[in-house]
C-alpha cells in the first residue's frame, strides 16, 4: 500500500527545518508545456507544489488568477492535462491540486480523485467546498488516498475553526485576507491574532496564503505559520516576462529567492 497523500504531506512538515514554501502554478498557463516547465523549476525550490486546474468561474480568485485560468482554458487546457503535469512531478515535492467543485464532480468525485491519486497527487484544495458540504468528497478522497485540504478564513469563528480542525488532513490553508486572491496582505496584529487563533484550534499544520507577494512577507508569515503559499505574484511575473525563456528565469529567480529567505538562519 503506497503512502497516503496525508501521510506524505505530514512527513514533509515533520522533516522540514523551515516554514514550507508552497508556490502555485496554473496548469496550462501560459500554455501546457510552459506550466509543466514552471512547475519543474519550482519543484527545485518548493516543499509542496500547488497546481491549479483552470475553471470557468473561479469565485475565490481575483483578476490575475482569473485571467491566467481563462488563458489556459482558451488554449484548450483540460483537467487531465493538468493531472498529467502532476504525474510528471511525482518524484519531486508533493503536489496538491487546486480546483473548483464542479471540476471534481463533473465525471464523479470518486473517478476524479482516483485519477488524481494515480498521478501521484497528494492533496486537493476545493475553495468552494466548505467543511459542512465536504463529507462525501472527504470520504472519496480518503478512499483514493488524497488528502482533502480544508480552508479557513478571517471570518471563520472559533467554533468553526475547531470543526475544520477536527476533520482536517495534511494541512489547513488559512486565507490571510477577507477577499479573493491577488490582493496584498499586511502583517499586523489582526493577522497575527488570526494565525494564532487558527493554530490553537487546528491540530494539523497551518499554511497561510492570499496576498503574499514578497520574500519578506513570506518570512513574516513563516515566523507564525507552518508554510506560505504564493500564487498571483508568480503568475504576474510570468505574464510580465517578454518571452518564454525570461519567464522561466523569472520563475526560477523568484522561487530561489523565496526558498532562500525561508531557510533557517545558519550563520
Amino acid at each position: 500500500m503506497p503512502e497516503s497523500g496525508a501521510a506524505r504531506l505530514q512527513r514533509v512538515f515533520r522533516e522540514a527545518d523551515h516554514p514550507l514554501f508552497v508556490p502555485y502554478v496554473m496548469g496550462g498557463y501560459p500554455d501546457i508545456d510552459a506550466s509543466r516547465r514552471h512547475a519543474q523549476i519550482l519543484a527545485e525550490h518548493a516543499d509542496i507544489i500547488e497546481l491549479g486546474i483552470p475553471f470557468s468561474d473561479p469565485l475565490a480568485d481575483g483578476p490575475t488568477i482569473q485571467a491566467a485560468g481563462q488563458a489556459a482554458l482558451d488554449g484548450g487546457t483540460r483537467p487531465m492535462d493538468v493531472l498529467d503535469i502532476a504525474g510528471d512531478l511525482r518524484d519531486g515535492p508533493p503536489v496538491v491540486v487546486m480546483t473548483y467543485f464542479n471540476t471534481v464532480i463533473a465525471q464523479g468525485a470518486a473517478a476524479f480523485l482516483g485519477t488524481a491519486a494515480e498521478k501521484g497527487v497528494a492533496g486537493i484544495i476545493i475553495p468552494d467546498l466548505p467543511v459542512d458540504e465536504a463529507d462525501e468528497v472527504r470520504e472519496a478522497a480518503g478512499r483514493a488516498g488524497v488528502a482533502l485540504i480544508a480552508l479557513a478564513a478571517p471570518t471563520t469563528d472559533d467554533a468553526r475553526m475547531a470543526e475544520i480542525g477536527a476533520s482536517a488532513e495534511g494541512f489547513v490553508y488559512l486565507v490571510a485576507v477577507t477577499g479573493v486572491t491577488g490582493g496584498e496582505m499586511t502583517m499586523d496584529d489582526r493577522l497575527r491574532a488570526l494565525v494564532d487563533r487558527a493554530r490553537r484550534h487546528i491540530p494539523v499544520p497551518v499554511v497561510v496564503g492570499f496576498g503574499v507577494r514578497t520574500p519578506d512577507q513570506a518570512v513574516q508569515i513563516g515566523e507564525l505559520a507552518d508554510g506560505v503559499v504564493i500564487a498571483s505574484e508568480i503568475i504576474r511575473r510570468i505574464g510580465d516576462a517578454p518571452d518564454a525563456e525570461a519567464a522561466d528565469a523569472a520563475v526560477n529567480d523568484f522561487g530561489a529567492g523565496v526558498a532562500e529567505a525561508l531557510k533557517p538562519y545558519s550563520g
Binding site: 475565490a60 464542479n102 463533473a106 468552494d128 466548505p130 480552508l151 479557513a152 478564513a153 471570518t155 468553526r160
Partner: protein
C-alpha cells in the same frame, strides 16, 4: 421556522469559507424577521403604497381569441409593479433585512437591469449605498436601465469577463461580497445562489402566487388549469408556482430561453443541462464534459444564464413542473403580438412565456384557464426589440 437549505439534492452552500459566516448571519436574520410583525408591517405598507400591490389580474381577451385559449387567458400584472417588474418584491424585502442586520452597503448583479433598478430603488429609499455589477454586453442591450440605475444613485460596475452577461456579473458580485462581507449585503436577484438565498427570494416572491390564486378564485370561481412563467434563475416562476404547488390539478410550466434553438446557443439549463455547481448551489447547469460552465445565449438578458434555481431542479426531477423553452424568434414575435393586440409591451423575458402559450395553444385548449406571470414590462427592450423587428424612430 427554519429556512430550507436544500430542495431534494439541490441547493447547498458551495461558496468560499469567507462568506459562510455571512450566510449564517443572513439565515438567522431571516428566521428571526420573516414572521416579525414590525418587519412584515413595514414591508406590507411599502408593497401596497410604494410598489402598488396587489397587482391586478387581467384577462387578455384579444390574445385569447387570436391564440384560441378557450377557457380564458389571464395575466398576473407584475409589469405594473413600481420599477416595472417583479424584481422589486425581492429587492425591497432584502433591503429591509439588510438594514436590520446593520449593513451599510448593498451590492447586486443584474442581467436585464430590472433587478439592478429594483435594488437601486430600494437602496435609495432607505439611504444605503449601492453598487450593481452588470456585464458589458448587457449594459449595451439594456442601456436604458443603466441610465435609470445611475439616476437612482447606484454605481453600475461593468464586467468584461466571459461573455459579459449575467453569469459573469454574478461571479463578480460574489467576489465583491467575499471582499466586503463585513459591511455589505449582497441582494441576489433570482432564486439562485447559496442557501438561504433561493428560499428567501422564493418566499419574498411567493406573494405573486398567493395573490393570483385568490384573484383567480374571485374572478373565475376556479383555479387555473395551467400556470406559465418564464425562467431565468427562476424567481418570478417560483413566486407564482408557490401559490399552486399543493393544487395537484393545476399544471405548472416554466419556459426557459431556447435561444437559437437546440442546435445553437440557448439558456435551457433544465432541458439540456445536467446537475453541477455554479454560484454556490447544486442545480441543473449548462456545462461541458469537464464541468466548465457554458456560455448561455438568449435575446433576453434576464434569461441569458447557464444555471437555474435549485428548487426548479427539484420540481423538474419530481415532475411537478414541466420545463419547456421558447426560441428568440418565438419570443420576439410574441412580444409584438402582445404589444399590438393587448396594448401591453411585455419584457423580452416575459415574452418567452407568452410564446409558449401561443405555440402550445392546442394542448392548453380545454384544460381550464391559463394564467401567465406577466413578469415585467418591455420599455427597457424597445431599442433591442425594435432593431430586431425593424421598428425605429426615423421619420
Amino acid at each position: 421556522m427554519s429556512v430550507n437549505m436544500r430542495f431534494g439534492p439541490y441547493g447547498g452552500r458551495y461558496v468560499p469559507e469567507t462568506v459562510i459566516g455571512a450566510l449564517d448571519e443572513l439565515t438567522e436574520a431571516y428566521e428571526r424577521y420573516r414572521d416579525d410583525p414590525d418587519f412584515l408591517s413595514e414591508l406590507g405598507v411599502l408593497l401596497s403604497h410604494y410598489v402598488g400591490r396587489p397587482t391586478p389580474l387581467y384577462r387578455a381577451q384579444r390574445l385569447e381569441r387570436a391564440w384560441g385559449i378557450d377557457d380564458g387567458l389571464w395575466f398576473k400584472r407584475e409589469d405594473l409593479c413600481h420599477t416595472g417588474a417583479h424584481k422589486i418584491n425581492n429587492a425591497l424585502g432584502q433591503v429591509l433585512l439588510a438594514r436590520r442586520m446593520g449593513k451599510q452597503r448593498i451590492i447586486a448583479e443584474t442581467g436585464a437591469g430590472q433587478h439592478g433598478v429594483a435594488t437601486a430603488t430600494a437602496a435609495a429609499l432607505v439611504g444605503l449605498g449601492c453598487r450593481v455589477y452588470m456585464g458589458r454586453t448587457d449594459m449595451q442591450r439594456q442601456r436604458l436601465n443603466v441610465i435609470r440605475m445611475r439616476m437612482l444613485g447606484a454605481e453600475v460596475h461593468p464586467v468584461d469577463s466571459g461573455s459579459g452577461t449575467l453569469k459573469d456579473a454574478t461571479s463578480e458580485a460574489i467576489r465583491d461580497w467575499v471582499t466586503n462581507v463585513d459591511t455589505t449585503h449582497y441582494i441576489i436577484g433570482s432564486a439562485v445562489g447559496p442557501a438561504p438565498y433561493p428560499e428567501i427570494v422564493a418566499d419574498l416572491q411567493s406573494i405573486i402566487g398567493i395573490e393570483s390564486r385568490a384573484q383567480m378564485l374571485d374572478e373565475t370561481g376556479r383555479l387555473p388549469g395551467t400556470v406559465i412563467a418564464c425562467v431565468g434563475g427562476g424567481s418570478n416562476a417560483i413566486g407564482i408556482f408557490r401559490g399552486f404547488l399543493d393544487d395537484a390539478d393545476v399544471a405548472l410550466v416554466g419556459v426557459e430561453a431556447g435561444g437559437e434553438g437546440p442546435a445553437g446557443r440557448h439558456g435551457a439549463s433544465l432541458a439540456l443541462g445536467r446537475p453541477g455547481v455554479l454560484h454556490g448551489s447544486y442545480s441543473y447547469l449548462l456545462q461541458d464534459p469537464d464541468g466548465q460552465v457554458a456560455e448561455a445565449h438568449s435575446v433576453s438578458a434576464g434569461l441569458d444564464y447557464p444555471g437555474v434555481g435549485p428548487e426548479h431542479s427539484h420540481l423538474h426531477d419530481i415532475g411537478r413542473v414541466s420545463y419547456v423553452n421558447a426560441t428568440d424568434e418565438a419570443a420576439l414575435s410574441a412580444f409584438l403580438e402582445c404589444s399590438r393586440m393587448e396594448g401591453l409591451i411585455p419584457a423580452l423575458e416575459t415574452s418567452h412565456a407568452l410564446a409558449h402559450v401561443r405555440d402550445a395553444a392546442a394542448s392548453l385548449r380545454g384544460g381550464g384557464p391559463v394564467l401567465v406571470c406577466l413578469s415585467g414590462r418591455g420599455d427597457k427592450d424597445v431599442d433591442q426589440a425594435g432593431a430586431a423587428l425593424g421598428i425605429d424612430a426615423s421619420a
